[in-house]
Assembly symmetry: D2
Homo-oligomer: 346 residues x 4
């Protein structure tokens, strides 16, 4: 049994962490930090967890409360957990940060895309990008994990192996991704109101979404050369799920079997990556509330394009589930401990 | 480990049974019967279960396939599983029927409300009504379980104790219940089409829904005298969940504390019944994809009425989850085995 | 052509007023007041109205801007439009207030249920309750209209005639009403977030909703004696619509034909009230984006209850549409001018 | 006043035609043909239209019933209206066919993509493709209109002018389109069930959707040379709306102003095309239940791509609304007669 704490536990990502960790056989939750709901019963904020989580929210003291834990999860928006991360790293303990703060290796890129100053630069270099299936050894040895963004996870898992194995062109990657509204968090705003989202789909931040440099950084590593992507996210009238459709000009004349072989090589043994049969395509319902990433693809001979489709649950594989998977790697637990439950359908 | 078979496994209730049983530590699934999808991979019918359920659908032979199992689940619409139930009972094995066929003790009432002839009358008298928290001993000893309907479960759990303890009036019970669309099953019809249901709520079968005699039968047992209820179900634009609001004239002058005491007496030790605090009310999201039934109530001093609210997931506590709970009782497993997962929020 | 102004034009009720009035053949919109969006193009706040409404939002000056209009619509939350109403009444002009401020004739009841002091008591006595089909003559002569609430409209239209004609019991009225989320307005809060509302239904303010005294006031007038109702509103996962189901013990032994006759007498000539055939029931989709109120009912001989169902669009007949209908009455226009469009299905 | 008939009036497109035509000042509806609902009141099939449409559905006789009308609308699936079209054309009357049967000028392409034999080949050559803003003169003179598909409308309106004016590359057009479920019609199937669609988004018919040759035919005409597109449609959890996002490599170095000028030239005077401001993007709610097509675009200097976004209501501008617009052109009515109503928000 290890002891964990969660900072920012009452946002949707924090709540998903709490739900998953409350059923994890190797974990004891020590505190559920929340400024907004401090000293309220957690199960009043999330009545779903009544009976599973009997704990009050607390606003933790960084000096005292970090002493008793083995690993800290930070589920705050970018910019807000740097002090906590700094502190816990200095204490020599492990931390998994789910914000964007430690994902970008180039601090200037971070400051330019996020428009804030980075206050924990010293910790940046030691941070490991927590894409579980791609960097399992690095994650196992890491002290500080930068947990990937939801869109990046849905995009990097299908693209990384193809670029690493050099079977696709790097110049023409277009990504059209659709996310459920929970990706916008629980902080109320005009954007995530029911009547604004229901019966409505819209693209946003076209060519300028903050996940762009994160995606490009990792694809550049995979390809061994710099590349740029075209990325269009959408707000879709559903609570959970990301569907990413990726278009690549098939300049290399890659065949279906070649692509399949690459995926088998990278993911054949990976429980959470499901490669679908030819002509079957991912849908978000098939991964609902689970840690799966479903992937399939088509080589369109008529147009000479490759089309790849992936689906994840943005709050699980796209956030809290992958964070738990990373914790499992860091502490030597079974990879799927706490994550075995099947998706919910319908 | 026991061996189970599921008849009608590709409807929504059958799929929920399959999902729950595939994660049950004491169960091995022997067959997934389905006429519509025979010899198709189950995970093509429910791609969510790829990796969890690797089995083809089969159209079983009643004479051979029932030999190798310890318990049979029937998840077919009413009228279609009577032959299978008859056969398996004759073989001396256990069966949990999720249709309405064995719930009504009076076969004439069944035939009149359902408009069909009952073809397994001999089995009726031995059937135990599987309301898990109310009849646990009878269930433990039963060979044939008539698993309760979804609406009845959401209504009987809050009402049974109150009538048994004689703290509410029997003459004025009005039930206004709202169900998600999955209650209408996966067979396509104009009623459960997305564009017909979305952005729409409607009442249906007012005063004539087939669950009425089932509810009245059990309430009559509880009260020790015949009673009638007013029951209005609604089709609500959501996939899962039933919210039942029950109105009773408080002619007995029952107090909040008296009601609370009754509930504590019956459900204080029951894991799957959650009694909410005063002025907190159930909502379907709080029980999503779980086996919980949330209950709370108000004594309205201004109007002299009692208002009770309950929420369940119609596919879990209202069908497959309660069936698994009953199986646990019948085989002496832990009550919550296979049902421990917390509800999904958001 | 008359000149109108709208205060609080960027809330959902204000937007619906703007949409309807922009197509009204007898109306010119003079200003669209909005504090939140002052000096922004209205069609940026509601891009749907680009091409229909080419006007900037303004934060009006009560002393100057009211001079040039014939009628003012106030679509602010309660408590915020009293000063404007006072001012415009003093100027001798007409005003239709869509808040709760002038609906309750007893100012003490208002102050106790709404928890604020009333700052325009002098105007109260002259206010006419704008239930269009019930008080058409009073409305035609009124200077100040208190436009009914959304729930009250859906409840009073079916109940008023029955009480007035003394065909139903007054002691046992129970109302279970389901509203879409737009009823909560466009001000962001945890309550109306997409992920909190979607796949969720809940009852709220059980026995304590602020529309209760408004409903009771008008039913008391109809019945000629004081009465109390049991009222339970629900938040339903849809944008628009209210479905009200009303239960009454049929102590008077009223027949289907008697009820039907009463409705025919009151509403036979009313375009916006549609009485459905026996065994057909209202659904919110059938009135979507229209000014209709659909009504039907059942006499349940088995239980001796009367069940009445009504459906409206909360933003149209429950707010902006009825306000326009009242304006038509006040200025002698055709009742349905600006309101002729059919509901949207699907 | 002209006399119109509608074949296939009870599908969703037929219902939208009926709704729009019932409010059209120049039109009298003579019959509402429907095989499924023959001799049922139309307002029982669409209770929304009670009071607006008082007519029984009929199963028409092609020899007699076509005599009394001026124009026929056919709203049947492909392959089913060819006999009627043939007959009415022979009678020298006008017809607007909303199926795919007369859209493709090359009958072999039709037979190969749709997998059926064309039974009205003689009528094909006279058919005019009814893209209202692009072919207004041809439409005005036409006897037979092939009304465009929903996806093609949302794609051709933004692309046609750019190709015609030669400001974009023809080799790299990728279209990622998202449609509401009403596009799948009212015939019940597993695909359009509420529980299958809700909380789910999926791509389908990747690279093989039947609207592909229709889109390519018209773009080829515009470009003056053959071209191919990559087209991915999605089923989105909403009832109405299509959002199309189009990606083109900006090989010609076209500027924002050049694109804008082209759009202004073609659509500056067109009421139903709304060009949004820079950095504002279409969303389906902004065109809900209206005949608008909203368009905007971005030149991404970072990636050298052009991204164009368009939104329509699939049942209005994508089907029935455009058909009415074409009828207006054919009979010399005002272009927007019957189509003036603003979109519904929220």
């Amino acid at each position: 049994m290890i002891k964990v704490g969660i900072i920012g536990s009452t946002g949707y990502v924090g709540a998903e962490l709490t739900r998953l960790l409350s059923h994890h056989s190797e974990v004891e939750i020590m505190f559920l930090d929340s400024r907004s709901y401090a000293s309220m019963e957690y199960s009043r904020v999330y009545p779903s967890l009544r009976g599973s989580v009997e704990k009050e929210c607390t606003s933790i003291n960084l000096d005292e409360d970090l002493e008793n834990i083995d690993v800290l999860f930070c589920a705050l928006p970018h910019g807000l957990s740097q002090a906590a991360v700094k502190k816990i790293v200095e204490k020599g303990k492990k931390v998994i940060d789910l914000s964007a703060d430690f994902r970008l290796k180039d601090v200037d890129v971070y400051e330019s895309w996020y428009g804030v100053k980075h206050e924990a630069r010293d910790q940046l270099s030691g941070a490991v990008y927590g894409l579980s299936e791609i960097y399992p050894e690095e994650i196992a040895k890491a002290q500080l994990i930068a947990n990937p963004g939801c869109y990046p996870t849905s995009i990097l898992l299908p693209l990384y192996p193809l670029l690493k194995e050099d079977v696709i062109d790097t110049d023409s990657i277009i990504i059209d991704a659709k996310s459920g509204v929970s990706g916008a968090g629980r902080a109320p705003s005009d954007t995530n109101l029911y009547p604004q989202c229901n019966e409505n789909i819209k693209a946003y931040s076209i060519g300028s979404h903050r996940h762009t440099p994160e995606i490009e950084q990792e694809l550049t590593i995979a390809a061994g050369k710099e590349l740029k992507i075209q990325f269009t996210p959408h707000l879709t009238p559903m609570t959970r799920g990301i569907l990413s459709v990726i278009y690549i000009s098939n300049k290399k004349g890659t065949t279906y079997q070649q692509m399949k072989d690459v995926y088998e090589k990278y993911y054949g043994d990976q429980k959470f990556i499901r490669l679908l049969e030819e002509n079957e395509y991912p849908q978000t319902k098939a991964v609902y509330a689970s840690n799966y990433c479903d992937i399939s693809f088509k080589i369109d001979d008529r147009t000479q394009n490759i089309i790849i489709v992936s689906a994840i649950d943005n709050l699980v594989k796209g956030a809290a589930g992958q964070a738990v998977q990373n914790m499992n790697l860091m502490f030597g637990f079974n990879t799927d401990e706490g994550l075995q439950h099947a998706p919910i359908w319908p």
